[in-house]
């Protein structure tokens, strides 16, 4: 076992804290953990991607979503859908602490994009099948890894704690691709919320259902765990109350109406123009 790769992670910490167990490898994959937990009246399935220093794919040892992680998440989520097919739809909680998708020549060749799509596909199917899906952001929610694991959830909730962040690309790579110094990226993030690496600025976009303050993300106390559990219970209740299985709530929040006004305007105008002049004059 390599001793340069960490074993402990925010994903592992929060799965353990919420479930009271270490969880078990999902379908034999040590980097995808699952556990069940009571959330109010529901039994929920927790899923987390965690570091695995012995992962047979070296580019996925640090908690990245790699080829087998993507497809295993898909299998894990689909197994919940299948087993609940004739009964109550269990909530699914994605515990999100994913440093990135796996970067590598082998990963590209073998279709890392499809592996991540498979996971996103499964979460979206679960949502459409009526499973309340909540993503709990406890660490990094980076780029394609977050698209695979969490971003299809009905509700997104995040800890307001150092190290919790959402972004499209690591800072160094973003600086290179946009040909800007890293310091300039930081300054822009303060001025332009979608550019920011800070979860408080992300919250301004209106995408989060809840931002949970006052919690120790690395060493949660029993009170911290109880607070997070309550947020999850409330999020599940909110999903069931809304009756909606799409992502429209992300555009309905007061914050979204300000920061995502353009997204809302696009939808309003497109709906007006959709049917065409002939149809419009006929109404």
């Amino acid at each position: 076992m390599s001793d340069t790769v960490p074993f402990e992670s925010r994903g592992r910490i929060w799965l353990r804290a919420l479930a009271g167990t270490e969880g078990s490898p999902s379908f034999g994959k040590d980097s995808v953990l699952q556990a069940d937990v009571a959330l109010g009246d529901h039994s929920a399935r927790l899923l987390a991607v965690v570091p695995d220093p012995r992962n047979r794919f070296p580019r996925a040892r640090n908690g990245e979503v790699g080829l087998e992680e993507g497809w295993t998440l898909a299998k894990a989520v689909r197994s919940v859908i299948e087993s609940d097919h004739d009964g109550a739809r269990r909530p699914i909680i994605a515990i999100v602490d994913v440093t990135s998708q796996a970067y590598g020549q082998r990963e590209e060749l073998l279709g890392i994009h499809l592996a991540c799509a498979a996971a996103a596909n499964a979460y979206a199917e679960a949502r459409l099948a009526g499973h309340p899906v909540v993503a709990l952001l406890v660490g990094k929610a980076m780029s394609g890894a977050f698209l695979a694991h969490g971003y299809q959830a009905n509700r997104l909730v995040a800890l307001d704690a150092p190290g919790v962040l959402v972004h499209a690309m690591g800072k160094e790579a973003a600086a290179r691709i946009t040909r800007r110094p890293v310091a300039e990226l930081d300054a822009l993030g303060e001025k332009i919320p979608p550019m920011s690496y800070d979860i408080k600025n992300y919250a301004k976009l209106g995408l989060l259902h809840a931002l949970i303050a006052g919690v120790n993300a690395d060493a949660p106390t029993p009170a911290d765990v109880a607070a997070v559990r309550q947020v999850l219970i409330d999020a599940v209740a909110d999903i069931l109350l809304s009756g909606k299985r799409d992502l429209s709530t992300r555009l309905n929040s007061p914050a979204a109406r300000v920061l995502r006004a353009a997204s809302i305007e696009v939808r309003r105008r497109l709906a007006e123009q959709w049917a065409g002049p002939a149809a419009a004059s006929g109404t």
């Binding site: 794919f57 073998l110 592996a115 498979a118 979206a124 698209l147 971003y151 499209a168």
Partner: protein, 295 residues
């Protein structure tokens, strides 16, 4: 499935036809959208006079474009109602910003609403994109998740067909969108990968991938390789008529019994057969994952 999917690209070279063809790659987004729809049915939505531009680029002193890099058009395909979203690679590398992405997501949502009302509106996405527009970072990522949601919901009713013609290719979160499509069409010039070569070099080092090695990159993620290992359904020439006909063939096949992104057992088994400790050549993968002895 294989035979009908490979006809245009593998027919004997017909130089007269080759010289007479209309290059799809050389068309701009509007020309591409027009080429895909039935003749005379093209109707642009959210055109330049709607002035729906990026609110974020001016804050960074970057010039905007009146359509934010996505042309949306309605019309028919084989007589059926359709919407086409064509990404313009000439604007910001085809990147997905708040507005350009919302145009695609919203068109998928409206096509879904049509289908739920019994109107079988079909959707085509012409991918030409590096993924998230980094100047709009988190709003680009968010809208890509909404595009994923839109494709998965719509493709339960009608096929969603994707095209990767080139020359930008399809990367980042949009590579997931492409592989969520019911059917994916590519040219040899098209590339489909999650992480752009520059990003892999940055994140994993030049010993992992030299982004200046163009030949290697096409061998890894070019349209021909992707079709040979089953990650793209149809390989076509850079020919507007051939692409239009491949799109029609994809719709004629209907909604697949199991979408590629839902073939979990198959792909877990395919990965289990890979030894990550051994080198893996693109050609060897064709033997392992290929659909038989074709090509």
């Amino acid at each position: 499935m294989t035979d009908q999917n490979k006809t245009p690209a593998t027919a004997q070279p017909d130089w007269a036809r080759f010289l007479a063809r209309e290059s799809f790659i050389e068309l701009d987004a509007m020309g591409r959208a027009r080429a895909v729809l039935d003749p005379g049915t093209f109707r642009m939505l959210l055109g330049p006079f709607d002035r729906l531009k990026s609110p974020w680029l001016p804050l960074q002193n970057i010039v905007t474009q009146a359509d934010d890099g996505v042309v949306l058009a309605r019309g028919t395909i084989d007589g059926q109602p359709a919407v086409v979203a064509a990404i313009e690679s000439a604007f910001q590398g085809g990147s997905m910003g708040e507005v350009s992405g919302a145009k695609i997501a919203a068109s998928l949502e409206l096509a879904l609403a049509d289908n739920e009302k019994g109107i079988p509106t079909r959707a085509v996405i012409l991918f030409e994109t590096g993924g998230v527009r980094l100047q709009e970072a988190n709003l680009g990522l968010a809208v890509i998740a909404e595009i994923h949601a839109g494709i998965v919901a719509l493709r339960r009713h009608v096929p969603v067909v994707g095209v990767i013609a080139g020359m930008v290719g399809c990367f980042g979160g949009m590579s997931l969108a492409a592989s969520l499509c019911s059917s994916l069409i590519a040219t040899r010039q098209g590339r489909l990968g999650m992480n752009g070569p520059e990003v892999i070099e940055q994140e994993a080092g030049i010993e992992e991938l030299d982004s200046s090695n163009k030949r290697l990159i096409w061998q890894l993620i070019g349209g021909e390789q992707r079709q040979a290992i089953g990650l793209v359904d149809t390989l076509v020439d850079d020919d507007a008529a051939a692409i239009a006909s491949a799109i029609r063939a994809a719709f004629a096949r209907g909604v697949p019994a199991r979408h590629r992104s839902a073939q979990v057992e198959d792909y877990l088994a395919k990965l289990a057969a890979i030894d990550p400790a051994s080198p893996l050549e693109p050609n060897a993968l064709r033997t392992l994952w290929g659909k038989g002895d074709h090509e």
